[in-house]
């Protein structure tokens, strides 16, 4: 392992150093009501490392639920545009759950193909993501099926693996290395490999068994846009979009003008969801996705067929938040299992 170690005391000092230098630090932290979310922290004691999945993913740090794209001022026949910055101050995420870090990396593809979204990449470049090995498995997690796992490094710049009294630090990217180099005195020597291996094995014990092999699911989806399954599985979908809200990879957005009086205003980008009926509604009244099952199909297709076909990776990291959030009790792993069974049956028949 390419790495270092860091004790809890050193990590606390590192957080203090960063905060003192004006670098924002975000970590999973509990609010007064006990809910765990990624929040700004100023000291290590407030961070909850490797012990629970934050309610919302890391997505909001890079694609805020609402953000200004620019402001405009109207004066007679003239308009002036006030730009928003596309470069951002340095930011460290400490204790990212591996499935959340993976989600951010998955989104780099859509944000960067052909047209480069500078608001996304401005934040990406300013941010160093330090993941921590995850031990917070529950029955809705399925990261293993999406290529992730409790110590997966996709999307992370550094990965912390718990050791007695601190962590082993795996350096994943040059950005991660730069953080270590800049704070050299806060890091210890390379860890004992056997200790790291033991810790990884313990975390892997919490590794979620793949819900289903996803390659056949992807193949099945590409061939079954029309299928009675859709109307059936989507019956419980209310179209509320809670799944998209909590999802680390759902990135659909709306663009709206918010006038403030008649002389000025702001154009904003807001989270949106393909689960909403008006998402695809044309001005003419025509709606290509008129039924909820067509909308549910779109979400599933986008994650497991469209995105892989276009960008070579799944648009799902198996965090399981959609299943936890759904008021209708829909369960993505259950749907994937159903599709995998059909794929297997179809394969057997052929």
């Amino acid at each position: 392992m390419n790495g270092r170690t860091i004790t809890h005391a050193q990590l606390a000092a590192l957080v203090a150093d960063l905060v003192a230098a004006g670098t924002a630090v975000t970590a999973p932290a509990r609010a007064a009501d006990g809910r765990l979310d990624y929040r700004p922290v100023t000291r290590l004691e407030d961070a909850v490392l490797g012990d629970g999945l934050p309610r919302l993913s890391l997505k909001a740090l890079f694609l805020p639920p609402t953000e200004p794209l620019f402001a405009f001022r109207l004066s007679g026949s003239d308009v002036a545009i006030d730009s928003v910055p596309t470069s951002f101050p340095p930011h460290v995420v400490l204790g990212a759950v591996p499935c959340d870090a993976a989600g951010v990396q998955a989104l780099d593809k859509v944000m960067g193909w052909d047209y480069r979204d500078e608001l996304w990449f401005g934040r990406r470049e300013a941010t160093t993501i330090v993941s921590v090995g995850c031990s917070s498995r529950d029955e809705t997690c399925f990261c293993g099926a999406t290529g992730g796992g409790p110590t997966a490094t996709r999307g992370a710049d550094l990965l912390l693996v718990p050791l007695e009294g601190g962590f082993a630090v795996e350096i994943v990217t040059s950005k991660g290395e730069a953080l270590v180099t800049a704070h050299e005195e806060r890091f210890g020597p390379a860890p004992n490999e056997a200790d790291v291996a033991r810790s990884r094995a313990a975390l892997a014990g919490s590794r979620v068994e793949p819900v289903a092999p996803l390659a056949p699911v992807t193949t099945w989806l590409a061939e079954h846009f029309e299928d009675p399954l859709w109307a059936d599985v989507a019956l419980r979908c209310h179209g509320c979009g809670a799944c998209a809200s909590v999802c680390p990879t759902c990135h659909c957005f709306d663009i709206v003008d918010e006038p403030e009086g008649v002389t000025h205003g702001t154009r904003r980008r807001n989270w949106d969801t393909c689960q909403a009926g008006r998402f695809t509604l044309h001005a003419s009244g025509h709606n290509p996705r008129a039924d909820q099952h067509a909308r549910f199909r779109q979400r599933l297709m986008h994650k497991f067929s469209i995105y892989p076909a276009r960008f070579g990776e799944l648009l799902c990291t198996g965090c399981g938040r959609c299943s936890r959030a759904c008021p209708g009790g829909m369960d993505l792993p259950e749907v994937l299992r159903t599709i995998a069974e059909r794929a297997a049956t179809a394969g057997g028949a052929a």
Partner: protein, 276 residues
């Protein structure tokens, strides 16, 4: 560069095509951009009425006419109502050009058959003028255009111009009941008039745009006339926000209309899921 920031443009002309359809001509305010802006027929953009929002329209003017672009739109919602309220001299916004285009270069040396219904003439008009401005590069040019009624025909002055040209065959039609006492064109739905006009498919390309139902019934007629599916082009419209493959709104199955389209061949359309 923030992708979502529009260019500023001034309205330099406006034409009411029908009681509810208007064409705006706009010129970019930044002189360097006004001089260098380029696009290809079939591409689209996001047009801003500041304070109301953006609308997705094709660029309805021809790339051969430089120094301005035009859009034609029906007033149906908040943003189109705001765009309609703009006067000559007012400022609007534009992002683009986005998407693919009609492969006019590939069509050089061939005959062109343009078929449009209603406001669907807007993207086709861009190609028509593009081809007519380079008239010697193409063989026969046939235009079949229809609308619900005479008052719903857009670009009336240009229709008169095309009708008067000896190097253009124009068939205009209105739906039964949509004719006026002085109407000299055809009466009937576009697919039927295409069948009657029977343009030769020999070394020809068809460019079709209009309401989905018109396209649906026109394609079999073209097939019957001998047009191969890869020589029939159309342009799809879907609701869009970003126009650049990010916002996730315009997908038809695996296709991003904003990036893979908006121009598709009938052959490509046949492979798409029926969700548009």
């Amino acid at each position: 560069m923030n992708l979502y920031e529009p260019y500023l443009a001034r309205v330099t002309d406006l034409v009411d095509e029908t009681p509810d359809t208007r064409t705006l001509r706009l010129a970019f305010q930044e002189p360097e951009l006004a001089r260098t802006f380029d696009f290809k027929a079939g591409q689209f953009g996001e047009y801003t009425a500041f304070g109301a929002g953006e609308c997705t329209f094709c660029i309805a003017s021809s790339p051969t006419r430089q120094g301005y672009i035009e859009c034609s739109f029906k007033t149906v919602g908040k943003a189109t109502t705001a765009l309609r309220s703009l006067n000559v001299g007012d400022t609007m916004g534009f992002r683009g050009p986005y998407g693919n285009h009609f492969p006019l270069g590939k069509m050089e040396g061939s005959s062109l058959v343009f078929i449009a219904g209603g406001i669907g003439l807007a993207p086709v008009r861009s190609v028509i003028w593009n081809a007519l401005d380079l008239r010697d590069r193409f063989r026969d040019v046939t235009i079949v255009y229809g609308a619900r009624s005479v008052s719903d025909l857009v670009y009336k002055r240009e229709l008169a111009e095309w009708a008067a040209r000896p190097d253009v065959t124009l068939r205009q039609t209105v739906d039964p009941g949509g004719e006026t006492p002085g109407w000299t064109g055809d009466v009937g739905l576009v697919p039927a008039i295409v069948e009657k006009a029977a343009p030769s498919a020999a070394d020809a390309y068809a460019i079709v745009c209009g309401p989905p139902v018109m396209i649906k019934y026109t394609l079999p007629v073209l097939t019957k006339l001998g047009f191969a599916a890869d020589r029939i082009y159309t342009t799809l419209e879907n609701r869009m926000k970003c126009g650049i493959g990010k916002c996730g709104r315009c997908n038809i199955g695996p296709v991003y209309v904003c990036k893979d389209g908006p121009v598709f061949t009938a052959e490509e359309m046949a492979k798409l899921p029926q969700e548009f």
